[in-house]
Symmetry: D2
Subunit: 336 residues, 4 copies
């Protein structure tokens, strides 16, 4: 088994997709063990560490990578299977910060009202018990929330010679901030440049739908990814697959356009998988499709369109990459 371990030092972290040389080269079929920092670069460690004071804007949301995948070319699809996503510390943080979040004026939804207060919350993370403990700041209220670790950010270099801040989700992936991106899931990303140049970051111990205050329970992660390359198959927007469902994503503003992109892709994909005529697929998705919200706070909003595979008549997708990668992941876990 081809296992590659990588732990970046702070100066190795990347703040864009595109515009950066690879930190390592990976063979398709490899397992990558990596460490990812939290969205604050690990600088917010207590309720007294205000992001606007301890972080250096715009250097937020660092990703681990980019990794060059041998043989990847524009028009291919990169399959990244998340074997495990494990919180690396026994604490995590969340925060409001000025002009960010869905219920405040922002730099684009510009308002003359003053921003909300900047406040940090510190969570205790207990991986064994599977919980994150919330502590109110202005009262004694405390409650345990179930862990559901995920990555907010995964993507490849964009096309057209672009370099995009990691905070922005778009067709190349990026900061989609969907709780659906948990362990057990395979992400499909269309390759835009030679080597694909994928990167991963922004771990969340858990996250509500839409990340309404602007941040989740932000956590450093130890993450294991199994990598495969599907040659000659293009993918227009990031897609996800788990054992039960197919998922399309869309990232745009306004939010209905993120919905449209994701549902359009799911209808088209369903039509391909099942052989259903387009309007027949549209009808089927209309009745059994789900639409989990990703983020409603980033520079583009993200929606996911999700369909249980049980209703699609048994055809596989992407040459059964998910099944193969899942088996590879289990083999890795058995040997670890």
């Amino acid at each position: 088994m081809n296992v590659f371990s990588y732990r970046p030092s702070p100066e190795d972290l990347s703040y864009t997709f595109g515009g950066r040389p690879a930190v390592a080269r990976i063979e398709p079929g490899a397992i990558v063990e990596m460490y990812t920092e939290d969205c604050f670069g690990g600088r917010v460690r207590s309720v007294d560490d205000l992001p606007s004071q301890v972080c250096e804007f715009p250097y937020l949301n660092p990703v681990t990578g980019p990794f060059h995948v041998e043989g990847a070319e524009p028009g291919d699809t990169l399959a990244l299977h998340f074997v495990t996503i494990e919180p690396a510390r026994d604490w995590a943080v969340s925060a409001t910060f000025p002009h960010f979040g869905a219920l405040t004026g922002t730099h684009t939804t510009a308002m003359l009202t003053p921003p909300l207060d900047e406040v940090v919350w510190h969570y205790d993370i207990d991986v064994e018990a599977g919980v994150a403990r919330y502590h109110a700041r202005k009262s004694d209220f405390t409650v345990e929330l179930p862990l559901d670790p995920m990555h907010g950010t995964v993507g490849v270099a964009p096309g057209a010679s672009e370099a995009r801040m990691t905070i922005t989700p778009d067709a190349h992936g990026g900061n989609m901030d969907t709780p659906e991106l948990r362990a057990g899931v395979t992400v499909y990303l269309g390759v835009n440049v030679e080597g694909a140049l994928f990167a991963v970051g922004d771990g969340h111990a858990r996250q509500g739908h839409g990340e309404v205050c602007g941040t989740a329970i932000e956590a450093a992660m130890n993450t294991v990814v199994a990598v495969e390359l599907i040659k000659g198959v293009a993918t227009p927007w990031p897609r996800l697959e788990d054992d039960h469902s197919l998922m399309s994503t869309g990232s745009a503003r306004p939010l209905e356009d993120a919905y449209r992109i994701s549902q359009h892709d799911l209808v088209t994909w369903t039509s391909e998988v099942t052989g259903l005529e387009t309007l027949d697929a549209y009808q089927l998705v209309s009745q059994i499709g789900e639409a989990p919200v990703g983020n409603v706070c980033d520079s583009n909003y993200t929606m996911v369109a999700k369909l249980p595979k049980a209703y699609l008549g048994g055809s596989g997708v992407y040459e059964s990459a998910h099944e193969r990668l899942r088996a590879l992941g289990r083999q890795y876990l058995a040997q670890r």
Copy 2:
């Protein structure tokens, strides 16, 4: 037990919230058994019945009611508990129709492209087996989908002397088209006029998130509602409660505003229920809140903000109306 049965004839159906006299007067504490027609008024019965030909626009989406609730005044809250929602026929229909749906130009998202074809799908409904059978129109593909009956439309008369088409969801309720409005749920509606004047319609055998093609599996329903009045308590936007969760709704365009309204109301409500300071409540909702999509096709879009009650420390809401109504509903079912 005060049980009132009502089956409207076609000319009794209503096409607006507001602007119509009540069809009956109901005492708080009563059970109402009602029949509701489907969104096509029952006129689309086969794949050859095109809505644009058999329906008379804008007379779509009829509701049963309005019912005058004795003693209801502006500033009160009406609680409607859905005891049962049962498909009334062994078939149901769905359709695309011109300039309606999320993936086509509409009268407001105006496009120069021609509309999508108008197509009808006919479903077999088997209540005993709990399934609706989908049949593709252009191939032999067929699949059974689980029934999950719900009402797309419930509301009261709006304030400010308005009368609104039933198709439009807003602060008074209306065509929210959320699958969360199923049996076992209590809906809280702010009263705007004397008697509240509530009405119910637009049954769906099941519906995907967003009702992307514009229609669900449209079905006539036999529905039982338990009614209670909470005096002197206002409700800004429709709220829902089931045994596990509190839910706020928002209906607006663009879709992020529907999200904002619903999340804002849930944060504020959480703060009231738990005593948490506002930003503490914002933080908690950010991590455990869900955001099921209602509709992304109607004249306003609808989002739901949902929070498991387990994390709120045990306080009840609306003077425990849901628990009382649920008990009343069970008593009714036991006697039926």
Copy 3:
């Protein structure tokens, strides 16, 4: 000349389009002289009269009417030519008020930030000099602005048995708040109910594009309208015509949909007027069309699409109603 004068007492004012009986019946071809109150019902008279204290929500934005036009039936078009719009007082007011305006959270763009302060500005109106004098509240700054009187609100009863608050612009007209609706302009409105039931209100001494703070220089007006009925010709959205231009309007959210509606209507209308094929008309409008912003603060936003008639090859519209009404208006003014 058939001249009808009407000055409503406060209890005659209307707060909805639809849902109200006519205050008078008008023959096509008549001139109507009317008085309209300002959007605050005349209750905000000094900088100390805060709208939230002196007004009774939601009873804002009163209109004069509705007027029943003899012979008007659904499918016809009502032509209202504004002969004069003259400020009725030597003062006018403007205000910010909580949760209203483009640069603050509102009831739909819901925010957790506190609202902006409620502030009133008092303007001196000098009709002879043609100016409104602005006075800053927190300094001695003062400046004269040119008068450009207009009506924010004009419309007919909506169809489908609806009644809509006058504050809402939609296909029936309403509170479009476009500065293009000044004296010399003919407004075309599609008739939805017998008698059309038109009404006029919300005079502005002048207004910026978008009415960004939520209110213009709000003024009572003495207004003269010449009325004509165009039988058997439908109008999908309100249109305007002056001596130089044709204008289509659209009212919706998000703002791009208001733009789409108005441009779509202008392209279609241009195609009808010139005989140009649709894409040829699309091209022409793309290069010489203007898009004056109406409002970006009301419950729907309004955009206008405007085309100089000089480029359209000389064909008239609506059977030359504008030219006839303009001549009638001049005749009236000569006799006054």
Copy 4:
């Protein structure tokens, strides 16, 4: 006088802001004479040259540059005064192309309807007569439109190590597509990287508001720009100044956010220039501000907020850079 002339060969053209080395270094105070290609790279020359066939996506909308301005550092403002913008050929073109434009489904406003036809229009440009002649494709209709030459695209390298396609307008400038950017105007751009790295392209012989079909009358240009650097003064979003008005821009989606950004900046700027308290400035802008629409077709939409300087009490902005550059431009023209 320091005059620098630059005519790029096709391989010198740039398709991003950022991510490219400078083509030349410019001293502040210099005049730059440059040639810019049209948005199709000059490849669409007749009605038979369909963009989807003759252009190589995504290599559209080339810009001339980037130019390194000596001494420019992050936190400074670059002032570019457009002395002249002159069509370089006696023809220009416009086109619809698939999934682009405001009245069609696009890659983000995703629709299942087929795209509009791809059609090219060829215009005759007569600089002496000051007209562009439109020819319908499906009929004999033809009409002369006044020339009003402008640049759709001007900007600097973005910050945060980003590189953005030239088609996208944002805080760094880019493809704002506003007709306000004509000769006689000074553009102020905040500097994000050493040397600023400005570039210019996408000339239009004229353009309607919003560029509704997706393209203007696309023309190669000979353009002269006077360059100045304002040290230590930051500019958040591109601003424009001509002899009569100050203008702020905003680029975002939905369109109301572009409006909000531009109006927010204009209110803040007005407050700085006049000393008016913020709400007093908000009020003044509300009554005399204009809001010319830029584009409603690009990946971000653009709005301009415009205020006549006559109402601001005579204070200059940016250390009177516009007046100085305008004088320099006149001196250059006198000597040419």
